[in-house]
């Protein structure tokens, strides 16, 4: 039946509808069970309904208050926050995530930080660093970690931190870490006089702390390690206690093998649930160690450190995001086997200053797995200045048959728009939406006239209107418009052209 309910047939029958009171009960009514007597039955609501109600109640600080109502409310709130935070890993976001775009302060509870300190606490002459906890949603800080310079060997996690975690496991209360997500951050790098051994001693302290409170950390679903130097064995110790981990981020984190120890062969623990990884700005031994352990199970991976990584099979990988200074075409083609048999979403972001020749761009596209449905290529090809040479450009006939959403450079003159239509679009016969990436040209604000963070969807006319308005095609506007209109003839399923 057509549930939109406006068809003629429905209207005819409306008048015949009726709801009868209990007409002829064939079974004698039995007394209702006590909990249905109109008394409140919050705890009888299924968890998903409890979540639905509670989630509407406000932002994080407000939700946290409701953890105090009862142990079941506490668990409900934690589930909601956990789901919200995990979406950072699980939802596809092809763009580069700049710090301003994803305000970490809003997202995570985390332990340490130097750069958030107030100036009073930064004074190096006192020899004291009070790193503090960032408060999610409200960047107010609280002492968590104290470091007394080298003369004080007792530098440790200060006691108030301990008091926030229960000494023994209480199953009724569930997780003692709201949201089950944690960010741990040392900011030693901007404090260069902290010597190497001091840094690794901190990592050891952290590992000991995780071991001591493993009944708390075992609840964690997501962990972010930022600005940490750590040895493989300490990392293995920490991860070993996080038995429910689903998402892991290593950011600006260095892995150092201590020369005096024999831990080159450290092996990370098996984590069957760990499926979302972000490995950003680490050294290659860190990314290698992580990917060696988890390459077969990882579902989404974001990394900017990837040269030697893809010789292994990534059988379950669905979403891959590469932010790189390197040219990816050679990397994809290494080895005969496609390492990504399940890949659906691919984003390649090439940093500024690394210009692609057209044949490199062609090879990169040709090397993409055929399973892709969403491809985002933030790659700027090098343009010939002479129109004749642009005409002579050619590409292979290879197609990526299933791609529905394509992100590609925004052509700024008609000749480029023609190249896009003639050379690239035929490779994507199923494309429904083309996202023209304006960010790397710095013309996003010229087009939108507003902040860079906003993404808007326009229909084709609107795109054309905006292009006109922005005057980025001051010459030959008519030809440019014509080219964009031709796109639909190359891609028969095309519905949208979007400037992002």
């Amino acid at each position: 039946m057509d549930l939109n309910g406006t068809s003629k047939e429905v209207e005819e029958e409306v008048s015949q509808h009726y709801v009868s009171p209990p007409v002829t009960p064939e079974i004698a009514p039995t007394p209702p069970p006590p909990h249905l007597s109109g008394e409140t039955c919050w705890d009888n609501l299924p968890p998903e309904v409890q979540e639905m109600v509670v989630e509407k109640l406000g932002d994080k600080p407000k939700l946290l208050r409701y953890r105090l109502v009862s142990s079941s409310w506490k668990k409900t709130v934690d589930m909601i926050l956990e789901r919200q935070f995990l979406s950072v890993w699980t939802e596809w976001e092809p763009f580069e995530q700049y710090p301003y775009k994803m305000n970490m302060h809003d997202y995570y509870d985390y332990i340490c930080g130097y750069d958030e300190l107030e100036d009073d606490d930064r004074n190096p002459t006192t020899g004291v660093i009070l790193a503090r906890a960032i408060i999610a949603g409200v960047p107010r800080l609280r002492p968590i970690w104290s470091h007394f310079a080298e003369h004080d060997r007792k530098a440790n996690l200060i006691p108030s931190f301990d008091h926030h975690l229960p000494a023994v496991h209480n199953p009724k209360l569930g997780s003692p870490i709201p949201s089950n997500c944690l960010r741990i951050r040392f900011n030693d790098k901007i404090w260069p006089e902290i010597k190497r051994f001091e840094r690794s001693r901190r990592a050891k302290t952290l590992a000991d702390f995780v071991v001591k409170y493993d009944h708390c950390f075992s609840y964690l679903r997501a962990l972010l390690l930022t600005d940490i130097e750590i040895s493989p064995s300490n990392l293995a110790t920490i991860l070993g206690k996080l038995t429910n981990l689903r998402a892991l981020t290593l950011e600006d984190t260095l892995l150092h093998v201590e020369p005096e120890t024999q831990e080159e062969n450290a092996v990370l623990p098996l984590h069957s649930n760990l499926s979302h990884l972000r490995i950003i700005s680490t050294n290659s031994s860190a990314s290698q160690l992580i990917l060696k352990a988890y390459h077969e199970q990882v579902i989404s991976l974001e990394t900017n450190c990837w040269v030697p990584l893809f010789s292994k099979p990534y059988g379950n990988l669905k979403r891959l995001k590469l932010i790189t200074n390197l040219k990816p075409d050679a990397q994809f083609r290494q080895g005969e086997e496609n390492p990504f048999p399940a890949l659906k979403y691919l984003s390649i972001i090439i940093h500024e200053g690394h210009v692609f020749e057209w044949d490199e761009l062609s090879r990169t596209i040709d090397a993409c797995p055929r399973t892709l449905i969403n491809l985002y290529l933030d790659i700027e090809p090098r343009w010939e200045t002479e129109e004749d040479k642009i005409r002579q450009l050619a590409m292979s006939q290879v197609t990526i048959p299933n791609v529905k959403t394509l992100g590609i450079f925004l052509p700024t003159i008609p000749q480029h728009a023609e190249c896009l239509r003639r050379l690239i679009l035929p490779k994507f016969p199923s494309v429904q939406q083309i996202n023209l990436i304006s960010g790397s040209w710095g013309c996003r604000s010229a087009i939108h006239g507003k902040s860079e963070n906003e993404t808007e969807v326009y229909d084709r006319e609107e795109v054309i209107r905006r292009l006109n308005a922005a005057k980025i095609v001051a010459k030959n506007v008519e030809r440019m418009v014509l080219e964009l209109q031709f796109y639909a003839t190359v891609c028969p399923k095309l519905e949208y052209i979007v400037i992002i």
């Binding site: 009960p25 109109g38 409140t40 919050w42 109502v69 609280r142 003692p176 949201s179």
Partner: protein, 169 residues
């Protein structure tokens, strides 16, 4: 007109048109299942809802009847346009419908709407509960829901401390 007999947990039978019943996702599925398994296409389906008592089932059916001509809301409306579904669907009739109910009945209605997959009703009832919670203290919430805190000893204090991981102090 094709009818369906819907029977509550306490045995009351409601005879409603299939067209109306199908506005509940659950009943729609049940009717289709019945059709597939029945040889006689004229047979009247009978659906027993063991978790919902007559008084509540009647309220759900009343609401469905009142809203039988509403467009069915897409499940992800909220995310798409940022508007609450409840505002879209809530009419004066809804407000009058919900006004005499105490929170206990509303909770039962939420449970029923969830079970029968009636999204519009679920939205307005959740919205009502939300309005009763927002701005209340923890104690007031416990009173409103007739909940007793099950925290013992220092458990509530412990929870308060945990919150300080991430709340302003």
């Amino acid at each position: 007109m094709a009818l369906v007999r819907v029977i509550s947990s306490d045995g009351a039978a409601f005879l409603v048109s299939q067209r109306l019943a199908k506005r509940s996702g659950k009943l729609k599925t049940e009717i289709e299942t019945f059709r597939k398994s029945s040889d006689n296409s004229e047979a009247q389906p009978e659906i027993r809802i063991v978790t919902i008592r007559a008084e509540i089932l009647r309220l759900v059916l009343q609401w469905l009847q009142q809203h039988q001509n509403d467009p069915v809301l897409p499940a992800n409306q909220n995310e798409q346009d940022g508007r609450g579904d409840a505002e879209m669907g809530q009419s004066q009739w809804d407000r009058d419908f919900l006004a005499p109910m105490d929170l206990g009945i509303v909770m039962e209605l939420i449970l029923a709407a969830n079970h029968l997959e009636v999204k519009g009703l679920l939205d307005i009832t959740c919205k009502l509960v939300e309005s009763k919670i927002t701005g209340r203290t923890v104690d007031e919430i416990r009173t409103a829901f007739k909940l007793k805190s099950d925290f013992k000893g220092n458990e509530e204090e412990q929870t308060r401390l945990e919150n300080r991981w991430c709340v302003e102090n």
